[in-house]
């Protein structure tokens, strides 16, 4: 089995960045973002390998700012001459854009490295071992419970990636980092009582040694099995308990309203509320791009700015927004290190990094006891169409369980939960201690959350 680094035999990433710098003309701000990664993915089903994929990719994106006008060009796996051409194409594009004082490159300094971001041991794991992990996950997922005999999908995946950047707003050279990621995921199908239900789980680590495959299998199987026999509830206004995955899904919508770009362009319902209460005192929201072991952790953001910790909501009071260099320049503020970049193809936007709802010290069971009678939501669906960070609507499909007498009870399906972002934040009665991170967006985290009231739709 072969897995060579993507760059072998090719110009190194800093070298490609240097070509772009050399092509910059006087008065121009030029930035180069170069990226390479290798992935392996194994899917298993019915005791067999369903598919096995290897990939390698690299690319360069170049931003050119001339007279406050922005042009951008990218190419997959460019030769040095093509990188020079990217600068010319981006410069040409800039002529058609309009000047905006927000178009600035920030000065890039060295960012502190993050311990453990690159797991050396992961680089030596053989493909055979990865295949074995996927097969073991599938075996465990289908053998733990009698109702769960098959999976919708089970997989193991890993990635090794490297980013290098250079900019005319730095004193020569380039900055770079490398990281490893590996993950296991399972969606189990439970059958019984004339129904089929699915349950999902996911584990993420820097290297294989950190993955708990058995826990992923158990959780996916349990979450599927406990939904069997679910009924549609009667429509009512009720307390709702969001499990960490459902709460993180809620945060994925809210995060759009915490972007300074949304604020500046009239797309955030939070725009005018800094210094005011936007949630109950149980709500503290923190973004931390340096959190060890979390999904979005990196030493610097998509435009080279060191990542950091930003408290956005503290005890319910809105403290500020997430900034990249563009929004910071427009607001006269500093970048919070939240320039998000899907890949070398994208102009940096604003994105959260490990945004999470801070946990309390009470466990989830205590939270359920406090809820008494409620609806417990374990999965939400239709977020991209039923929820909006602009209008604040939050109306989504849900599956879960009744909470009766402070404990989980009968399963529920085909229901909706609805409210608004601000009403949910205001109605959060308590949060639990079980903070978990999920790979939604770049990475979001939440503990179990008790919301005092939402509308549950059913019959």
């Amino acid at each position: 089995m072969r897995e060579r680094p993507a760059g072998s035999g090719r110009p190194d990433l800093p070298e490609l960045c240097a070509v772009a710098m050399a092509e910059a003309a006087g008065g121009e701000a030029v930035e180069a973002f170069a990226q390479e990664d290798t992935h392996v993915q194994v899917r298993a089903r019915a005791g067999e390998v369903e598919s096995l994929s290897f990939s390698e990719s690299r690319g360069v994106g170049v931003r050119v700012i001339v007279d406050e006008r922005l042009g951008y060009a990218y190419a997959a796996d460019p030769e040095p001459a093509e990188v020079a051409e990217l600068v010319r194409v981006a410069r040409e594009g800039a002529r058609f854009a309009e000047p905006d004082p927000g178009n600035v490159l920030v000065r890039i300094g060295p960012a502190d490295p993050i311990a453990g971001l690159f797991d050396e041991a992961q680089a030596t794991v053989t493909t055979d071992r990865k295949v074995a992990v996927a097969l073991e996950l599938e075996r465990l997922a289908t053998s733990r419970r009698p109702e769960v005999r098959k999976v919708e999908s089970v997989g193991y995946g890993d990635a090794r990636s490297r980013v290098a950047m250079a900019s005319t707003a730095m004193d020569g050279g380039s900055v770079e980092f490398s990281r490893t990621d590996c993950w296991a995921s399972a969606t189990c199908l439970a059958e019984g009582e004339g129904q089929t239900e699915s349950g999902w789980s996911f584990g993420l680590a820097r290297g294989l040694a950190g993955l708990d495959v058995a826990a992923v299998a158990d959780e996916a199987a349990d979450r599927a099995a406990r939904l069997l026999g679910g009924r549609k509830p009667a429509s009512a206004r009720l307390p709702v308990v969001l499990d960490p995955a459902a709460a993180a899904a809620f945060l994925s919508v809210l995060s759009g309203a915490l972007s300074a770009e949304a604020v500046q362009k009239g797309r955030s319902p939070l725009a005018t509320l800094v210094g005011q209460a936007v949630g109950s005192d149980a709500v503290t929201l923190v973004d931390d791009g340096r959190l060890e072991g979390a999904p979005a952790t990196a030493p610097f953001d998509g435009e080279g700015v060191a990542t950091g910790r930003t408290t956005l909501v503290e005890g319910g009071v809105l403290r500020g927004f997430l900034h990249n260099a563009y929004t910071a320049a427009r607001a006269g503020a500093g970048s919070t290190g939240n320039a998000g970049r899907g890949s070398y193809r994208s102009v940096p936007g604003v994105a959260p990094t490990n945004l999470h709802l801070s946990p309390s010290d009470q466990d989830a069971e205590a939270l359920l006891r406090r809820a008494g009678r409620a609806v417990y939501v374990q999965d939400v669906s239709g977020l991209h169409s039923g929820a909006s960070s602009i209008s604040g609507v939050f109306s989504v499909g849900a599956t879960g369980l009744r909470v009766e007498g402070g404990a989980l009870g009968a399963p529920l399906r085909e229901m909706t939960i609805a409210s608004t972002l601000l009403d949910v934040l205001g109605a959060i009665v308590a949060v639990a201690s079980d903070l978990r991170f999920f790979p939604f967006g770049a990475g979001l985290g939440a503990p179990t959350v008790l919301v005092g009231e939402m509308t549950v739709g059913g019959t």
């Binding site: 922005l70 309009e98 193809r345 602009i390 608004t420 019959t459």
Partner: protein, 469 residues
């Protein structure tokens, strides 16, 4: 030509070196231009080029895949070796790979093209800027409550080559274009949104059918209208879905469940139900990748198979599933040409192209007049389905109450939830006013362009999830 035939032959030979039964190369070269206007300014002008190739080896029901965005021989051979080593360890006999005529004449078939009056990639940037401006001006002219307008334009040309060790060689040059307008309207601290984004497999003729101003006006009217919305009810009721939207429902409620990967995993509510009357007899549904100019159309799918018009439901009876090559071979049937992938970096899986509920006989206004109480969903947002049990949900982007057979107050925050087969069976009116809707469908992390279409339809009873219980 994306890759030379001799190189492809060498790569396929390496890929079969460990005894795989079939090897395939998918290569692409894609150029994209995109422009974005936001906050009244043309703020981004982006030009990009992506290319890459993937080598797939079939070994029984296992697929091994390796891809790279390097197009040199060394990288492609290494990808072939990786796929081969994953597919098997047996040393196979060396197999000669003949590509459609290439061995004897050195020629391969010409690429399939989509001739368009004016390809978008040749249009000067200042005209593209003018389309953005036209849309921005038109949206802002709709009402003083229009607060913010974003206009995203892109055109792309994807040149693909699909060749396999059975000798198939297909190239297709796919031009695509889209203009998407998003509008925020605001009043008294309330913000509402509207959006519209017609798209085409084609060139600038898109703007004759859908002028940028008309697209912008539709998006702006939706946002402005919703400012007057009352909270949506949470209850079961009759739901009338406007033209086009029923196609989105069809896509979620049953299209995904008919994709043969879900069927073969026995992870679909539609598995084992061919020939059964699952939908109302009013429902005739197709998936059609051959509609000229439609956003989800392709001459060949991403495995090189010609696309089809596949009848899925005929008078309510389930007629066919949607196949890619692997699943078709497994079932011993011909592929329906639905093997699609987002790019060379993805394995093909069964996907829809343009999925339509065909027009019926009912008068659309009569359908509303005949509904004493219900919800009128003029425009749907996207949706999501759990294919294993058919439960689906989607958001209503523009909705109204129906009271005494008339469309009355707009409602905010409505969400529809139901179960695929149950909802298909509950369709009790199909009108004549067929329209299409263009979108991007996500499955297993892969986004592909899809079309949907329908006339006005009515579902006798389904759950509306709003905040007003």
């Amino acid at each position: 030509m994306v890759l030379e035939p001799e190189l492809v032959q060498r790569v396929l030979r390496v890929a079969l070196g460990t005894g795989g039964r079939l090897a395939e190369v998918f290569a692409e070269d894609r150029t994209t231009t995109s422009l974005r206007l936001d906050d009244g300014r043309v703020e981004e002008v982006v030009a990009g080029r992506d290319r890459g190739a993937g080598v797939r080896v079939f070994h029984g029901d296992t697929q091994a895949y390796a891809h790279t965005n390097r197009m040199d021989e060394a990288a492609l051979v290494r990808a072939a070796e990786a796929a081969a080593s994953a597919a098997g360890t047996r040393t196979g006999s060396v197999r000669v790979v003949d590509l459609a005529g290439a061995s004897s004449t050195g020629d391969v078939p010409d690429p399939i093209t989509h001739p368009v009056p004016e390809p978008a990639d040749g249009v000067a940037r200042d005209r593209k800027v003018a389309w953005l401006r036209e849309a921005d001006d038109a949206a802002r002219a709709v009402a003083p409550t229009v607060r913010q307008v974003a206009v995203a334009y892109f055109d792309t040309r994807q040149r693909v080559l699909i060749a396999d060790s059975d000798g198939s060689w297909v190239e297709e040059d796919r031009p695509r274009i889209r203009l998407f307008v998003s509008v925020v309207a605001g009043r008294d601290g309330v913000m509402q949104t509207g959006s519209h984004g017609p798209a085409s497999m084609g060139g600038t003729e898109l703007f004759q059918r859908h002028p940028p101003a008309a697209t912008a006006e539709r998006a702006a009217r939706q946002a402005v209208t919703m400012l007057d919305g009352i909270p949506a009810p949470a209850a079961e009721m009759a739901v009338v879905i406007g033209p086009g939207g029923g196609g989105v429902l069809f896509h979620e409620a049953c299209g995904h469940g008919l994709e043969a990967d879900h069927i073969q995993k026995d992870a679909s509510v539609f598995a084992g139900r061919l020939g059964d009357r699952l939908a109302s007899p009013l429902v005739n549904g197709v998936d059609d990748g051959t509609v000229p100019g439609a956003w989800g159309s392709l001459a060949v799918d991403d495995e090189g198979a010609p696309t089809h018009r596949t009848v899925l439901f005929e008078e309510g009876v389930l007629v066919s599933y949607l196949y890619d090559r692997l699943r078709a071979e497994h079932d011993g049937v011909p592929t329906t040409g639905n093997g699609r992938r987002q790019s060379h970096a993805h394995l093909p899986i069964p996907r829809m192209t343009n999925s339509y509920i065909l027009a019926g006989d009912a008068d659309p206004e009569g359908v509303i007049a005949d509904t004493p109480r219900g919800l009128y969903a003029r425009t749907l947002g996207g949706g999501q389905v759990n294919p294993a049990n058919g439960d689906f949900v989607f958001g209503v982007a523009e909705g109204y109450l129906i009271e005494d057979g008339r469309i009355t107050s707009p409602v905010r925050g409505a969400n529809l939830i139901g179960n695929g087969p149950a909802i298909l069976a509950a369709i009790d009116a199909v009108a004549t006013d067929f329209e299409t809707w263009d979108g991007v469908c996500g499955k297993e992390g892969q986004g592909v362009p899809v079309g949907a279409g329908s006339p006005t339809i009515r579902i006798a009873r389904m759950t509306v999830g709003g905040t007003d219980a």
